[in-house]
């Protein structure tokens, strides 16, 4: 069963001049994790805002947990959890105060809200700091508390919008640990990220979006296969470059790419391990000493590059949409 379905979502800003969502469709199978991958301004946040009832799309259709998002937003809010790009908690209050308050806003009784707050603080390793104002928390702790606040009612569907953006590596690892635990417990999760390794690590399925559109979909492995299979990469000394290239091309049965500066030869291969062994044998016979030798799977960076023609982190290349999202943030309100 699909827990999230989005069909042909369109959202424009500035009277249609900027198409934040341009006929975007995606779905999430119950109990799985969908990673929505894209650069800044690709439409990730807009997608989450529409699915979590914060924003009305111009057209299109969306269903979350079997409930129509546009027709019945209030019922959707009963079954979702949302944790945005910024820790949306009251910083002057303590973690405990925040969780109790949000619990009461989910209509738990005062005592239920207190019990749930304590559970969540413990679950997210915040029990020791629960009674300190959030102002004194580290970025990672704030994010964990924010995530905890979105789990008060044990939502059927959880939306995490760039959960680790702006965190240091340690905070990121902690957050991944927390999210992986949630996933094991069976939550349905839609997660946006601009970090390719994050999608790789956490998601069952990945959609790549760019300029408000889904441009590719699949598992991390299948996306990598779309770009091509494995590559052999070899570094040899200068004088061996030419003979080594001949051997590699013969075995790979394809044209090799040679980087003279790095003295690196690389070529796509079909049968990775076997080809690698053949190359080693060939080198041995020709008395060529390899300085470095590797079999590489394409990274999701390669995937993005080959799908969009620009790098994932390259913000300037998707001009308008990016500009729109920044302007929107500055303006404090966009319609």
């Amino acid at each position: 069963m699909k827990s999230v379905i989005a069909e042909n979502l369109v959202k424009t800003y500035r009277k249609g001049a900027v198409r934040a969502l341009n006929d975007l469709s995606l779905d999430v199978e119950e109990g799985t994790v969908l990673g929505v991958l894209g650069p800044n301004g690709a439409g990730k946040t807009t997608t989450v805002r529409v699915l979590s009832t914060l924003l009305q799309p111009d057209s299109g259709h969306a269903v979350v947990g079997g409930v129509d998002v546009i027709k019945n937003p209030k019922a959707v809010r009963q079954i979702i959890g949302l944790s945005g790009q910024y820790a949306a908690v009251d910083e002057t209050l303590t973690g405990w105060d925040n969780l109790v308050m949000f619990g009461q806003l989910y209509h738990l009784s005062a005592s239920q809200a207190r019990v749930r707050a304590q559970e969540l603080l413990e679950q997210f390793s915040l029990a020791a700091d629960g009674h300190r104002p959030i102002k004194t928390f580290s970025g990672g702790m704030r994010r964990r508390l924010d995530l905890a606040a979105s789990l008060i009612i044990r939502p059927k569907v959880l939306f995490l919008d760039e959960p680790t953006t702006g965190l240091d590596p340690r905070g990121r690892m902690e957050m991944w640990g927390v999210i992986e635990r949630l996933v094991r417990e069976g939550v349905t999760l839609l997660l946006t990220t601009q970090y390719l390794e994050e999608a790789d690590q956490l998601a069952d399925d990945i959609v790549v979006i760019d300029q408000g559109k889904v441009i590719a979909r699949g598992s991390s492995d299948s996306l990598k296969d779309q770009v091509g299979g494995e590559r052999i990469e070899i570094v040899v000394s200068e004088e061996n470059l030419l003979p080594a290239q001949e051997i590699v091309e013969r075995i790979a049965n394809s044209k090799a790419t040679v980087d003279r500066g790095l003295r690196r030869i690389s070529a796509p291969v079909l049968d990775g391990t076997a080809s690698l062994i053949s190359v080693i044998r060939g080198f041995d016979e020709a008395k060529i000493h390899a300085l470095d030798l590797a079999l590489k799977r394409p990274s999701l960076d390669d995937v993005f590059l080959s799908l969009t023609g620009h790098m994932a982190e390259d913000e300037s290349s998707d001009g308008l949409a990016d500009l729109a999202s920044k302007k929107g943030k500055k303006r404090g309100s966009k319609r």
Binding site: L54, R77, Q85, V89, E91, L93, M101, L105, R335
Partner: protein, 263 residues
């Protein structure tokens, strides 16, 4: 009933904030008390010929000024929630759309109760003596609270359309500060240029001040607009203004909140 309950949770949050950051409450009460003392002793000489002295004229004026500043406080509080992205969280909860803004206006109203009590006490200490009896005094304070509450809704709207909490607080202040001085709050309007007198005496701050003076048992004086409707009926005029302010800003704010987008 859930809607009211939700709003009260938000109000409670604001009271909790005051216990976590007591400086806010302290500053909020010290400032008006300071005004009471400064005006009482700096301009005390203006009250020559006034029965009971200048402080009788001053206190209603300063009460109104203080509750007028609620507009800036509400705007700033809400703008902060916008900045921090808290609005998104509240909007993704299964609560009434009005809960956050209603809760905040109630919270700011409660804060005004505390502030008015402290100011009234300070005024009493420096010689303010309302003469109209308990019921009218009570009604006077009730009306002051309601005036502040209606302005809170203008603050909600300002907070929702603003980009920055500090900017909106300053802009609101730039708007309310002259409004409280281009009025009869601290001096009789009769010494102003004629055009300003008209403005000052139709100014909602002035009608509210006149209403409060009347309810506290002090007879107000009017300049060019003597015998005009607001001068004859300051209470009715003020109530009318409050209703108008709320009729304008509540729907505007609710509409804006629906489409609010933090950051």
């Amino acid at each position: 009933m859930n809607g009211i309950q939700d709003a009260l949770v938000i109000t409670k949050r604001q009271l909790l904030q005051l216990t976590r950051v007591p400086e806010v409450l302290i500053f909020n009460t010290i400032q008006p008390v300071m005004f009471v003392l400064l005006f009482r002793y700096v301009f005390g000489g203006l009250g020559v010929g006034i029965k009971g002295g200048y402080v009788q004229l001053l206190m209603p004026g300063i009460f109104v000024q203080t509750v007028t500043f609620t507009l800036a406080a509400t705007a700033q509080g809400l703008a902060q929630d916008m900045e921090k992205g808290l609005i998104d969280r509240f909007r993704s909860l299964p609560i009434a759309r009005s809960a956050l803004v209603v809760g905040r206006t109630l919270g700011d109203g409660l804060l005004n109760i505390v502030v008015l009590i402290v100011m009234g006490t300070a005024g009493y200490i420096v010689g303010w003596r309302p003469t109209s009896g308990a019921l009218h005094i009570f009604l006077g304070f009730l009306m002051l609270l309601f005036f502040g509450y209606s302005l809170s809704w203008a603050g909600i709207y300002a907070g929702l359309i603003s980009k920055d909490a500090r900017v909106v607080a300053n802009v609101s202040f730039l708007f309310t500060f002259p409004l409280t001085f281009l009025s009869n709050a601290f001096a009789s309007t009769t010494s102003m240029p004629k055009a300003l007198q008209y403005f000052a005496e139709w100014n909602p701050v002035s009608t509210m001040v006149a209403a409060a003076r009347q309810l506290f048992g002090f007879h107000n004086t009017f300049g060019v607009t003597a015998h005009s409707f607001p001068s004859e009926h300051p209470i009715v005029t003020s109530l009318f203004y409050m209703v108008i302010i709320m009729l304008v800003f509540i729907p505007l704010s609710v509409q804006r909140y629906k489409n609010a987008n933090s950051r």
